[in-house]
């Protein structure tokens, strides 16, 4: 079954730049997909449209049964509760501890203390940070901070995890750690993962589904792929 379906999606920004041209795409439930392409290829725009940070100019986007393009501003939270998002810059709250940062995502949707505690500890264990529960973000390394962000993204058991260049700020070794964590989440929880990246090494070593974008056009969609060099 498809979790995400895009039909004739076009995105034109107000300044006249077209980021995505007529994109058709279907992504299966439980899959792990890389979205690759150089800068300006539209991969970030695609991710942003999936969590309704940007609205498509034309076309239809269905995520987990929700018509994202038609979602009103006041109802966006319904989509956001179905998915987790991880960014390059972590986006943690500096004044909260690791535990509080992860629990924040459950608190704001009104979960009880007991459920919050159980889910937060489970998520932190999955990313391997159970021993840093009471630390503050600035006491952690970049890789650890990103793992906190991943824990926050999965704590509500979302069907979909969107990652926008999660390894962009990390060295290759830390990047591989993050990839192991993501792969593990994909396998044990069955969470569908879509990850935008331009890191060749990662894409080649993971051997996952690859969507290649170039200048806003879909140029390749491989079930088990490697990074296609733009020059080829």
């Amino acid at each position: 079954m498809d979790l995400i379906r895009l039909k004739n999606v076009e995105k034109k920004y107000k300044n006249g730049v077209t980021a995505i041209y007529d994109l058709n795409l279907a992504i299966e439930k439980g899959s792990f997909t890389f979205v690759i392409g150089g800068s300006g290829s539209g991969k970030s725009t695609l991710i942003k449209m999936l969590y309704r940070e940007e609205k498509p100019t034309r076309g239809q986007i269905i995520v987990g049964g929700l018509d994202v393009a038609k979602l009103r501003n006041t109802k966006v939270y319904k989509l956001r509760r179905k998915l987790g998002i991880v960014f390059q810059d972590y986006r943690l709250l500096p004044k909260l501890t690791v535990y509080e940062n992860v629990a924040f995502a459950m608190e704001v949707i009104g979960a009880t203390k007991e459920v919050t505690r159980k889910n937060v500890l489970r998520a932190l264990e999955e990313v391997g940070l159970k021993n840093k529960v009471h630390n503050y973000p600035d006491q952690l390394s970049g890789g650890e901070q990103q793992r906190v962000a991943i824990a926050r993204a999965i704590v509500n058991n979302p069907k979909l995890l969107l990652c926008d260049e999660p390894t962009g700020n990390l060295d290759p070794e830390r990047s591989m750690e993050i990839m192991k964590v993501l792969d593990n989440i994909n396998k044990t929880r069955g969470t569908t993962i879509i990850m935008a990246t331009h890191d060749k090494e990662i894409v080649n070593s993971m051997q996952k589904q690859v969507v290649t974008l170039k200048d806003g056009h879909l140029v390749n969609f491989k079930k088990k792929g490697t990074y296609i060099d733009e020059n080829n």
């Binding site: 006041t74 939270y77 709250l93």
Partner: protein
């Protein structure tokens, strides 16, 4: 159950934010305090003006003197015609015959008593009189004119010039106080919008993350609105104390009358409590409206 949990969280966050941004909170609290003190004064002034206009209106009587030669038939006919004038309060029509006027004057002083006794019934300069009250004081002069046209009516008196002036003066005082209250409330709303905007921009990152993890607009908005209400409530403490004790002192100092016996102040109880209530409600509403206005901008995507 979930709603209660979320509300609890909102209130907790609001208190945290008031304390964390204390200097900013203090700024808006003192703004609200000053505004509310002036609002309280204006409210009390306008209630008092309303009160003594009403009191004066209640006491305002038109006295109608009939001609000396009027007969009992005339009296009955004049009374009938008075009853037909719509602006006259029918139950207030009272008649005093020459004889009654004479008696009441004689009772008032011994000088009158001796003078009046020297006149015989026919020579007496006293006249039969009617006293009536009007329903609408603003039309008193046209009503008086109409009464003057009735046959056998000699003169009509209601203290013309002074009453007219007082009524216009009071109604303009009332309008000015309303204007002042409304202007002040608007200014305070804008001040609060700005203050809360500052506290919000300090928490922009947090709001952004709340949106990302699926917090509804209601969840994001409520703490700020509660914060505005808390600021309004804290800002109304001093004005409430000022209102209750200030008015009490004012009332006692002037013994309940302002300048003349004519202008009577409203009794402090329960007046001060209702005024304090009004001040608190205005404070909370102003804080609420202000913060709702400030937070709106940040909830668009």
């Amino acid at each position: 159950m979930r709603i209660i949990r979320m509300l609890g969280r909102s209130i907790r966050d609001a208190f945290k934010s008031v304390i964390r941004n204390f200097s900013l909170s203090l700024a808006s609290i003192s703004c609200i305090t000053i505004t509310l003190i002036i609002v309280a004064i204006a409210v009390m002034a306008s209630f008092n003006v309303q009160n003594f206009t009403k009191e004066i209106e209640k006491d305002l009587t038109i006295v109608i003197f009939l001609n000396n030669e009027s007969t009992e038939d005339d009296v009955a006919r004049v009374e009938q015609e008075l009853r037909e004038i719509p602006n006259i309060d029918k139950s207030s029509i009272t008649f005093e015959s020459k004889q009654e006027v004479k008696e009441s004057m004689q009772k008032e002083s011994e000088v009158f008593d001796t003078v009046l006794n020297e006149w015989s019934e026919d020579e007496s300069p006293l006249k039969d009189t009617f006293q009536v009250k009007v329903k609408n004081v603003e039309q008193i002069s046209s009503t008086a004119e109409r009464i003057e046209k009735i046959e056998q009516v000699n003169t009509v008196r209601y203290g013309e010039g002074m009453v007219d002036q007082m009524i216009t003066a009071f109604s303009s005082i009332e309008k000015v106080t309303y204007g002042v209250v409304i202007a002040l409330v608007i200014v305070t709303v804008f001040l609060i919008i700005n203050t809360i905007k500052l506290t919000i921009s300090a928490r922009r990152r947090e709001i952004g993350i709340m949106r990302l993890v699926g917090a509804s607009n209601f969840t994001i908005k409520t703490p700020f609105i509660v914060e505005g209400m808390i600021l309004g409530l804290l800002g109304s403490i001093v004005p409430v104390i000022f209102t209750t004790y200030g008015y009490l002192a004012f009332y006692n100092h002037f013994d309940g009358y302002l300048f003349t016996q004519l202008i009577q102040l409203i009794k402090p109880e329960p007046f001060i409590y209702s005024t304090a209530g009004i001040v608190i409600v205005i404070g909370i509403l102003v804080g609420m409206v202000g913060s709702a206005g400030a937070v709106r901008k940040y909830l668009k995507i």
